[in-house]
């Protein structure tokens, strides 16, 4: 197997007295779909927030390796926008779209970090700027087509259904051209039909060369989609492996059934 694109070692995050993450180690390899599961409050979202620079971890190492250039970067202490530029993008558990902007504009914002025009371009609208603007719209539209939102391009984001908003979040993240995509509960609030469409969308995205790390409570989705699964509880990683391995792991069963855990 090739080298890991994401390498997290001993990641720890304290909030005052609460240890939300306790020495978590996780590796992700190119082309994988990896799931991160665990009971409520296990620290999954906190883990994402540390990876994407929204929180600064108390200790530990986060390394991201671009699979194409082979360049490795240490992400600790980097600003969120720089991390996105490096090629890791995310969606949010509590949807954070730009509610009053159109669907298309939401995705166009995702193109921001791959484009350059500033004041000069804005005022003079020189050919380069116009070309770039066209590129932004074209790419955004293509991505919207991929997530099947192209019929609602001009709709305001807040008027979309819940499921559509989740897909728009994915589209917006894809617009930043990530090689690793982090999805925080993408199926939450979706009906079975939408979830099914989401599964094939995630497969499609993965087949196009994006590796995926997703948090999800829907076990059916997790089991059918993931190559590997990491299980967290009380900030600790308690298990990892293929879906079959994890399903039969006693520690996981205990954590999910809420019995006393002596692990």
């Amino acid at each position: 197997m090739s080298e890991a694109i994401l390498n997290v070692t001993n990641l720890t995050m304290n909030f005052g007295g609460i240890r939300a993450l306790d020495s978590v180690n996780i590796d992700i390899y190119p082309g994988e779909i990896v799931a991160l599961i665990g009971p409520n409050g296990a620290g999954k979202t906190t883990f994402f927030n540390c990876l994407t620079g929204i929180y600064t971890p108390s200790s530990g190492e986060i390394r991201l390796r671009n699979p194409e250039t082979g360049k490795e970067t240490r992400l600790n202490g980097m600003k969120p926008n720089r991390i996105t530029e490096k090629g890791m993008a995310r969606t949010f558990q509590n949807i954070r779209l730009f509610a009053n902007m159109s669907v298309l504009e939401n995705v166009m914002i995702g193109r921001h970090c791959r484009t350059h025009s500033l004041i000069f371009g804005a005022i003079f609208r020189n050919p380069a700027t116009r070309k770039e603007e066209r590129e932004i719209i074209d790419t955004s539209y293509k991505i919207l087509k991929k997530v099947k939102l192209h019929k609602q391009v001009n709709e305001q984001a807040k008027n979309l259904s819940y499921g559509a908003q989740r897909r728009l979040e994915i589209a917006r993240a894809l617009a930043t051209e990530p090689f690793l995509l982090l999805l925080d509960e993408p199926a939450a609030g979706m009906n079975p039909k939408e979830t099914e469409a989401l599964v094939s969308l995630i497969r499609l995205i993965c087949s196009e060369g994006h590796s995926i790390l997703l948090i999800e409570h829907d076990m059916k989705l997790v089991m059918s989609l993931s190559d590997r699964i990491f299980v967290m509880d009380y900030g600790k990683k308690i298990a990892q492996g293929t879906p079959e391995e994890v399903r039969s792991n006693p520690a996981v069963i205990k954590a999910y059934l809420g019995e006393d855990v002596d692990a």
């Binding site: 929204i54 954070r96 730009f98 914002i109 500033l118 087509k145 001009n154």
Partner: protein, 407 residues
């Protein structure tokens, strides 16, 4: 339809108002005769007036809520009339031409006094549009905007006094200096949000004024700098009235330039980023937008325009002193943006014209002028909190895309 509870509250409001306005409405001190007249009848009027007003406000809100409840689906209707007109090129172009023609003919139709007032009003239009970038578009509450205005004015005054530099050279220098000061201030300050940012910028505005007031060697203190050259026109000396018209046209030109630039900025990659930042900072950062840099650009662009107008102000009055750059000035410019409708260019223009011209023509009200002015602002904010013209943003109306549909 009015429960006793509401009546009781209105009664309380009226008593409170009567109490509040007691010192100005009831007591009248005659310093010459050294007597105090007690005008109790005024108190009565205030009480009745505020009682009626408070009931009216309540009725209004009850109605509004009912309307909102019944017409939830028809949100599209809220687009203001003006915007619907402006979207139609058929109306837009003649309207713009008419405005332009009126602006050009203005000095010939009205007296020099009127032209002068109009010049001031137009200067505030530019200031409003500049602050609109900061407050209306990027959502950064800046209460010290006047500081940048002062930087522009003093850079012309000082460069003119010490080095004899002319208006046209200093105009860009003043703007750039103000923008530079904007960057200097913005860098440490822009990580603050909302109220905190407002307080720090407020303090900054006062600091600049205090420096100008107290650093005598630099700025000649409170007495200010006089005899600043008027702008030249290819070396021709203009008569007094001609120079009034000249500055007027110059400001009209600046207004047009500003509208053009602000309009283009709003519908650019940068403008989109500003809007998105106002909606959700964390999501923006996660999408790769550099928060600090994007805010800094908005902040210093706003400052740039204040600097330009500052230079023109110094050239117009030929005299600057720190008293022109008090907090009240910042407050007025901010009111222009808020009253006009944050983010809306037309709104800001209308806001500036009303706020600057209204007090001029309210002079009849003498010392109650500012009170009436404040009253109008309060009423305005209660009934139309989104401003005169609410900013319905023109989002990308995406019709057809040849390049991506063809595959």
């Amino acid at each position: 339809m009015f429960p006793v509870n509401e009546l009781k509250r209105s009664l309380l409001v009226s008593i409170w108002f009567a109490f509040l306005t007691f010192p100005i409405m009831v007591i009248k001190v005659d310093p010459i005769e050294r007597i105090v007249t007690w005008r109790w009848d005024n108190m009565f009027f205030v009480a009745i007036g505020s009682f009626v007003l408070s009931i009216l406000v309540k009725v209004y809100f009850v109605r509004k809520e009912r309307r909102a409840g019944s017409k939830k689906a028809q949100t599209a209707l809220t687009e203001p009339f003006v915007h619907r007109i402006l979207r139609e090129p058929r109306f837009l172009y003649p309207l713009c031409l008419a405005c332009l023609a009126f602006a050009i003919l203005f000095p010939h139709l009205f007296s020099a006094y009127q032209t002068n007032i109009m010049t001031t009003a137009l200067m505030y239009v530019v200031l409003g549009l500049g602050l609109n970038i900061v407050v209306g578009v990027a959502g950064l509450l800046d209460l010290g905007y006047v500081a940048f205005y002062a930087v522009g004015a003093y850079s012309y005054a000082l460069l003119n006094m010490h080095f004899g530099l002319g208006f046209w050279i200093v105009l860009p220098i003043g703007g750039l200096l103000a923008a530079f000061v904007g960057v200097l201030l913005g860098f440490p300050v822009l990580r603050l949000r909302g109220d905190y940012l407002a307080i720090v910028t407020l303090g900054f505005g006062e600091i600049i004024r205090l420096i100008l007031e107290n650093w005598n060697d630099f700025s000649q203190g409170p007495s200010g700098i006089a005899n600043i050259s008027r702008p030249g026109l290819f070396g021709i000396d203009l008569s007094f009235s001609a120079s009034i018209n000249y500055i007027y046209y110059l400001v009209v030109g600046l207004v047009i330039f500003t509208i053009f630039v602000v309009n283009r900025l709003q519908s650019s990659r940068l403008g989109r980023a500003w809007l998105a930042l106002r909606e959700d900072e964390i999501a923006c950062q996660a999408m790769g937008i550099d928060k600090t840099r994007t805010k800094l650009i908005a902040f210093s662009l706003g400052a740039f325009w204040a600097g330009l107008v500052g230079v023109i102000f110094a050239a117009k009055t030929t005299f600057v002193n720190p008293a022109s750059f008090t907090f009240l000035e910042s407050a007025i410019i901010l009111s222009i943006v808020v009253l006009g409708g944050m983010g809306s260019i037309v709104g800001v223009i209308l806001g500036a014209l009303t706020l600057i011209l209204l007090p001029e023509y309210l002079r009849a009200l003498a010392e109650y002028r500012m009170l009436a002015f404040g009253g109008i602002l309060v009423v305005m904010m209660i009934f139309k909190p989104e401003g005169l013209i609410s900013n319905v943003r023109r989002s990308y109306q995406f019709k057809k895309l040849p390049s991506s549909e063809s595959e």
